[in-house]
Symmetry: C2
Subunit: 233 residues, 2 copies
Amino acid sequence: MRVEFREEDFKVALATSVVLYGFDGEDLKLLIATKSNEPFAGANVLPSVKVRPDEDTFIVAKELMRRITGRDDWPVEILNAFSDPYRNPSGRVVNIAYYGTLRLDDNVHYNLQRSEYRWVKVNDLPPLAYDHADIVEYSRERLKRRVKRRPIGFSLLPQEFTLNQIQSLYEQALGKSLDKRNFRRKLLKSELLLETGKTVRSSPRAKRPSALFKFDEKKYRTLSLKGYDFVYQ
Amino acid sequence: MRVEFREEDFKVALATSVVLYGFDGEDLKLLIATKSNEPFAGANVLPSVKVRPDEDTFIVAKELMRRITGRDDWPVEILNAFSDPYRNPSGRVVNIAYYGTLRLDDNVHYNLQRSEYRWVKVNDLPPLAYDHADIVEYSRERLKRRVKRRPIGFSLLPQEFTLNQIQSLYEQALGKSLDKRNFRRKLLKSELLLETGKTVRSSPRAKRPSALFKFDEKKYRTLSLKGYDFVYQ
DNA sequence: ACAAAAGTGTTACACTTACACCCATGT
DNA sequence: ACATGGGTGTAAGTGTAACACTTTTGT
């Protein structure tokens, strides 16, 4: 096996990109950035930074999220490595991308301080530079899997939400429409939702108010331990 | 965004490990190697090589497989990047691991030329050096997912196989036993198996011979296109 | 009263699970 | 004839999918 590392082998640079999905109660969105410097100045990209040789990619990715949004207290996991030798014109840069899901409320600085960053609807993404469209594509598959197998609402939905909101989130994540009655039956049968007794009007045009639910976190933890799988095909 | 790469950022080395699963008709096995040089001389590891800064990790991984087994014509996909800063004592080495499944027959050099490499039963793995046990653990989850959702037999099973063999493969991959009648019903209903009319005796002790089946590749391709999912929970 | 979105049930079908004995063959 | 592993069926229960109207509320 060719495993003796020599000095000339240590010539690769690392970067990390974060793929952050947020749901504002209406639209599923993705955080993107506009590049200010060359190469690709002005182009849209995923939020990205280089990782110095002594740094941990995960920690750097979390710092990046915190710098942009002011927080990083949501689920984040590694997505994959993107390592095509020519993906970056500056040299051999391996990108180790992370993926997270969060709720877009006032706590996350929804209107990001720096206009460099913005949330865009996932169904309305602009073209992205480098291989970032590939990274997004990959992350969308991951998101679909997560949505199908876990009640992801904890991280994406508001603390209190309507059944129509959660259905809309699922529809946007899976890219297809779902039957309202079947969706509700399945969701309610899981017993992961608690009625709050509260209601909201979904829009000024809506006359009848909608019931608000919240997640039963205790129940979820219990079911999780038992290897519970939600599975929405 | 901190994205200007400088010379001192290009100080990381790349390696790739391959996680190869093989099935010999009886046992599900994993290819491991014994390290001949320091560090960790004598220890068990996944087959691994360094990747030079101008090389493509996937190509290097395929070359490694070919060097060890004489072939590389089976499904291979990226597993993940393993990038803990201190995972390798020689310096910052990011490992981009690949994962493949193959049948262990005479075409693959089952008794590998160099005793450095060997196939071990997945349920009987020795301890591995570096973070290779983590990589294997990760790959086992991937294998489970694949087995559940795709008829993986194409790549792992012999060209002609018995229903007991395929069940044994599934049981080893999923780590649990399955009901024989239910398993057969599900498999036959999928209509992906063709009877060959041939039989074999599974062992010298077995009196009654077992029927041999093969995959209906055409049907599989048709179903695949339609987004068919096998799903064995 | 009407406009708007919220909410609600039934039926047919497909799939899953649990379960134990007979069969074919070689010795 | 017996030992060995190969092979088979049924019934109950559970989940899925398709489908359209009534209810509540604000204006």
